[in-house]
Amino acid sequence: MLLIECPYCGPRPELEFRYGGEAHVARAADPATVDDEHWTAFLFWRGNPKGLHFERWRHASGCGRFFNCARDTVSDVIVKTYKAGEPKPDAARLMTGTTP
């Protein structure tokens, strides 16, 4: 069970959270203007990287907030969590800063 740092409540057991899939997949302001290709990408295409993954979690059984998380999908080590709306951190910088 992961230990996840909620940006509001601090470290909490994974079971209090709901995973929300890849982060920073923005919904177009006006979907009507998006062509099929891009709309399909928005709906379904996912990076699914082996390595650093930016993902959404919600502290569902806690403060209820969605937030973002940078996690290494090989080691499952959580490198950073940050509030929804905050900019995506620089991946390269995050990885160099990590000790497993």
Binding site: L3, R27, A32, L43, R56, R58
Partner: protein, 1001 residues
């Protein structure tokens, strides 16, 4: 039988004799014994039969690594536990154990014929045969193989025992309570850290419990153990967990421990849990799990009476049992000399100490020589003899050239093997730490850590007691320090006088040219021989993972604790590759097998999942309602009167609603209060329907799509104020809908000032449906004008009922005049009772979900999840009317224009009028164009709703049919499981009161 092999000394309590039985024979032991030690004391070595060849087997080890002595312990009823290691079963008065995997008796087992057929049954033989004729495998061979395989019998009755769970947190978790673990726990605890110390054994002390010569801080080692435990016990921030196995090491220092609470008791109190699962989050971990001795691989090494030297020493010193009177040792390790000396002092004759090494030296060897024990350097055992018990060996001398020559036979009644120790790195590996190979000492030891842990003692390949204690102490301090605790200087305990492990051997021992007859086992439990491993490599299985799976080495219940290193060495040798390159197989949890029940814990019966009941549940129960599970809720399904069938009850309930009225408990309906200045705009974006212009006091149906454009939920939404909506949704969908709304609100539509609060449980909901609905509730309602003009269909008003505040909805899911009375939950039952009292004056009934389904189907109202399945669009349902045309966007809108979603032949919701009015198709029946479609034909759709409608006197059917709405009046066929498909006509999906007059009554 008498316990003739019992000697003086040991940690058993001679004041507490115990009688127990094994395969029906009664024996005597003492408190403090294990089943294995007590049997050995009685001279019983034969304790089991092997998996494949059914070879007679005795005990090999004294602890968790035991592969052979597996027994079933029964306490009657469902309390039967197979595959227990006799070395870990603590003796209690009346214990009953049975041997396993033998056909007839342990002494005579017809399965032993397999031993003779050995050459036919080499590694992977079953992949090469049993293929002809086709089908014979499953019918003929497989059942035979299955019967022969397996070990013990699964229990026959449900387990009546109780299992507990505990979440725990600590600064330092110490796994293993031998010298390393005790020193670590003490050092950590002295600095003030919260410490948990767990050891799988009944007593702390580990290897020290069998130590005779060493002293620690100038006292006998066992006295130091006692003092240390006492010191730890006195500290309130220390939790000592004996009989507790650390079985799993998960992410972020989360560990699973299982504590055996009552298995060692003769009469466990029934109120107490049998086992307790500890789920521990530790800041820091110390792994002090010790090391496990390796057997040596030679012919006959599996015979009863052949065992590990360390085990014999433990039986002797800890349990006061001599495993034999004429003992031969076969060693490559100094520590065997400690065993030899101890057994010798206890009265055994040491027939020979065959040492693989040409020039063994060290304190153990010196002491043995001083005691005139027959030390034979450069000697191997070529084979051990004896069927049900080892009775002798053939010795071999290793020449200068390295060749082995037979050097005569020697009798014995016990043969002890000492192949060196393998550090117990299971937990370290599970934590994803990387092992490194210590070339000189031929062992894998912990290398790079990944989590916040460190190893100490035998687990790290450190074997001299002084060093073990120093390492344990340092590890404990380091762990505490990393967890934020610094201590004033406590010094590490000082030790001397032990005979440490030194040396060792991996692989198959040298043999005379041309080999020897007889089977040399590597994996005892799975009957894997050295030759099997070599054969596998010859067959192309070059990866150690392939070797493991092809030979099954390391896959038995001991997971190769005693065998993996030997298997690896033999494979590496056969492949002519360096051992570390061949590599180990993956260590997986659990360290030793863990009871399913302890993992499931409290999650059984009503605690398996919460049982949610409405405030009115009790009433329905009193009326004898049948309930159905919907999500976590129990919902009243139908209210059969005595003697009524379900069908009769449902017919009565439906007819009553249509004729007069019915009461329905709709409390489970999901509810969300959407509040804030942007509430209407938020709903505009989440539902297909428009909400901006909805007047206060009015309701609107809402259809919710997922982003892919498919229907995900629906419900009625009432506007209570400009900035306040009462939103309802399906019972099962409520959690999903709230999560979906929060997702969009928090991450996409962050510009909106609106908040969501679940109010599902704030309100009990009593639906009163039917022509008499208004008359029923009128006497109870205050402050609300119930007239059709003041309160038309799809409106909501607040007022009081029975003096209680209510949100009263005029809505209908039956097509009748209907109200849904929302009252605060604690009042639900009383208001229901009051409404019921009124209702009875009108000769009405309560109805359940089944009647509700029929009534709504008669009206063609859909149920999301039944008439939709996650692939259905609003247009498929003919619900284009629910889409706000002028809205620029809502969730799912963009997807609706994708090419496949606008195809004309998509399945569309239609009614189906069966030619035979009495034919009620199965829900899920397929729609086909002919009565007898050829197998492999395509379906044109399926039946989504199908009921017997009492009011219409016929069946009513809805279904999704390809291009259905353009096919009105066409005849199609509906499949049945008991014959040809039956004809039906495509009609509009509304069967009763098509103009909706009754709604507005």
């Amino acid at each position: 039988m008498s316990d003739g092999f019992r000697i003086k000394g040991g940690r058993i309590d001679r004041a507490k004799p115990i009688s127990f039985s094994f395969d029906g024979t009664v024996y005597r032991g003492y408190e403090g014994d294990t089943l294995a030690s007590a049997l050995l004391a009685n001279g019983v070595h034969l304790m089991g039969r092997s998996f494949k060849y059914h070879r007679p087997r005795g005990v090999l080890a004294a602890g968790a690594e035991e592969p052979n002595a597996l027994v079933t312990v029964t306490r009657g009823g469902g309390r039967s536990t197979p595959n227990l290691r006799a070395t870990q079963v603590e003796l209690y008065e009346g214990l009953q154990a049975e041997s396993q995997n033998r056909f007839s008796s342990l002494g005579f087992d017809i399965g032993e014929i397999n031993d003779l057929a050995g050459p036919l049954l080499g590694a992977g033989f079953y992949y090469k045969t049993f293929m002809q004729p086709k089908g014979a495998w499953a019918k003929l061979y497989e059942p035979l193989i299955r019967r022969a395989a397996g070990l013990g019998e699964a229990p026959r009755h449900p387990d009546p025992d109780h299992y507990a769970n505990r979440f725990a947190h600590c600064d330092v978790l110490v796994a293993g309570g031998g010298p390393a673990g005790l020193a670590a726990a003490l050092a950590a605890a002295q600095s003030g850290a919260r410490v948990i110390l767990a050891d799988e054994q009944n007593e702390f002390g580990g290897s020290l419990l069998a130590e005779t010569t060493a002293t620690i801080d100038d006292q006998p080692a066992q006295d130091w153990v006692r003092a240390t435990i006492a010191a730890l016990n006195a500290m309130p921030h220390v939790t000592l967990l004996p009989r507790t196995t650390v079985f799993g090491y998960f992410q972020q220092n989360f560990l699973g421990l299982v504590e055996r609470v009552t298995d060692h008791q003769a009469a466990p109190p029934s109120a107490v849990a049998r086992e307790r699962l500890w789920q521990v989050r530790a800041k820091e971990v110390v792994l002090a799990t010790g090391a496990i001795e390796r057997p040596l691989v030679f012919a006959g090494n599996d015979r009863p009476g052949v065992m590990l030297a360390s085990a014999a020493r433990i039986f002797c010193n800890r349990y006061g049992v001599l495993v034999g009177r004429r003992v031969i040792l076969f060693t490559a390790d100094d520590s065997a000399y400690a065993a030899a000396l101890d057994l010798f002092r206890a009265g055994a004759t040491i027939m020979a100490i065959a040492d693989l090494r040409t020039n063994p030296t060290g304190p153990g060897v010196d002491a043995a020589r001083a005691a005139k024990l027959p030390v034979m350097p450069g000697t191997v055992i070529i084979a051990a003899h004896g069927r049900l018990r080892a009775d002798g060996v053939t010795l071999g001398a290793i020449g200068e050239d390295g060749a082995v020559r037979a050097a005569g036979d020697l009798p014995c009644d016990a043969l002890l093997m000492a192949g060196g120790f393998t550090p117990t790195v299971h937990l370290f590996s599970q934590s994803r730490g990387k092992l490194t190979y210590d070339e000189a000492r031929q062992m894998f030891i912990p290398g790079t850590s990944v989590q916040r842990e460190r190893s100490a003692g035998g687990a790290k390949g450190t074997f001299a007691l002084a060093a073990i204690l120093a390492e344990g102490h340092a590890a404990g301090r380091d762990a505490a320090q990393k967890a934020g605790f610094t201590s004033e200087a406590h010094v590490a305990p000082q030790a001397k006088g032990d005979i440490p492990v030194a040396g060792g051997f991996v692989g198959a021992v040298p043999q005379p040219k041309g080999g020897v007859k007889g089977k040399a086992f590597v994996d005892f439990q799975n009957d894997v021989k050295a030759t099997d491993i070599i054969a596998a490599t010859q067959e192309g299985f070059r990866s150690i993972e392939h070797v493991k799976r092809y030979t099954t080495t390391g896959m038995a219940t001991d997971q190769g604790k005693t065998s993996n290193m030997n298997a690896l060495a033999i494979a590496a040798d056969a492949l002519d590759r360096p051992l570390p390159q061949v590599g180990l197989t993956t260590f997986r949890m659990p360290y030793t097998p863990v009871t399913f029940g302890s993992i499931a814990g409290h999650a059984r019966g009503d605690l398996f999942d919460p049982v949610r009941q409405t405030p009115i549940h009790g009433w329905a129960d009193e009326q004898g309602a049948a309930f159905e599970n919907v999500g976590l809720w129990k919902r009243a399904w139908y209210f059969a009167k005595p003697g009524e069938t379900m069908h009769e009850a449902v017919v009565r309930e439906c007819m009553t609603v249509r004729r007069a009225a019915g009461l329905f408990d709709a409390s489970t309906l999901g509810k969300i209060e959407v509040v804030g200045p942007d509430a209407a705009e938020f709903l505009n974006r989440l539902y297909t329907n428009p909400f901006s212009k909805l007047e206060v006091g009015r309701c609107r149906y809402g259809l919710m799509l997922n982003e892919a454009g498919f229907v995900m939920d629906d419900g009625v939404i009432g506007r209570l104020a400009t900035d306040r909506f009462h939103v309802t949704m399906t019972t099962g969908g409520a959690p999903r809908v709230l999560a979906h709304m929060e997702d969009y609100l928090q991450t996409e539509f962050t510009d909106l000032k609106v908040w969501l609060t679940s109010t599902t449980e704030q309100w009990a909901v009593i639906a009163v449906q039917g022509p008499r609905a208004r008359a029923i509730i009128a006497p109870l309602v205050e402050g609300i004008d119930l007239s059709a003009e003041a309160m038309p269909h799809m409106s909501v008003k607040t007022g009081t009922i029975c003096g209680v505040e209510t949100r009263l909805f005029r809505v209908s899911f039956t097509g009748e005049l209907g109200f849904e009375i929302n009252v605060p939950s604690d009042y639900g039952r009383a208001v229901w009772d009051a409404v019921w009292a009124e209702a009875r004056k009108h000769d009405v009934c309560a109805y359940g979900t089944e009647a509700m389904h029929v009534l709504r189907a008669e009206k063609g109202y859909i149920i999301v999840g039944q008439d939709t399945d996650g692939t259905v669009t609003p247009a498929d349902l003919g619900m284009e009317w629910a889409i706000g045309k002028s809205k620029p966007d809502f969730v799912g809108k963009r997807s609706l224009s994708r090419s496949d979603l606008v195809k004309p032949n998509r399945p569309q919701l239609v009614g189906l009028r069966t030619a035979d009015p009495g034919f009620v198709p199965d829900m899920g029946a397929q729609i086909v164009p002919v009565a007898n479609p050829a197998p492999g034909s395509s379906a044109q759709g399926f039946v989504s709703s199908s009921y017997d409608s009492a009011v219409l006197g016929r069946s009513i059917v809805m279904g999704l049919v390809a291009g259905g709405r353009a096919r009105m009046a066409e005849t199609v066929f509906i499949t049945r499981l008991d014959g040809a498909a039956a004809p039906a006509t495509i009609v509009e999906p509304i069967f009763y009161d098509p103009d909706g007059e009754r709604l507005h009554g």
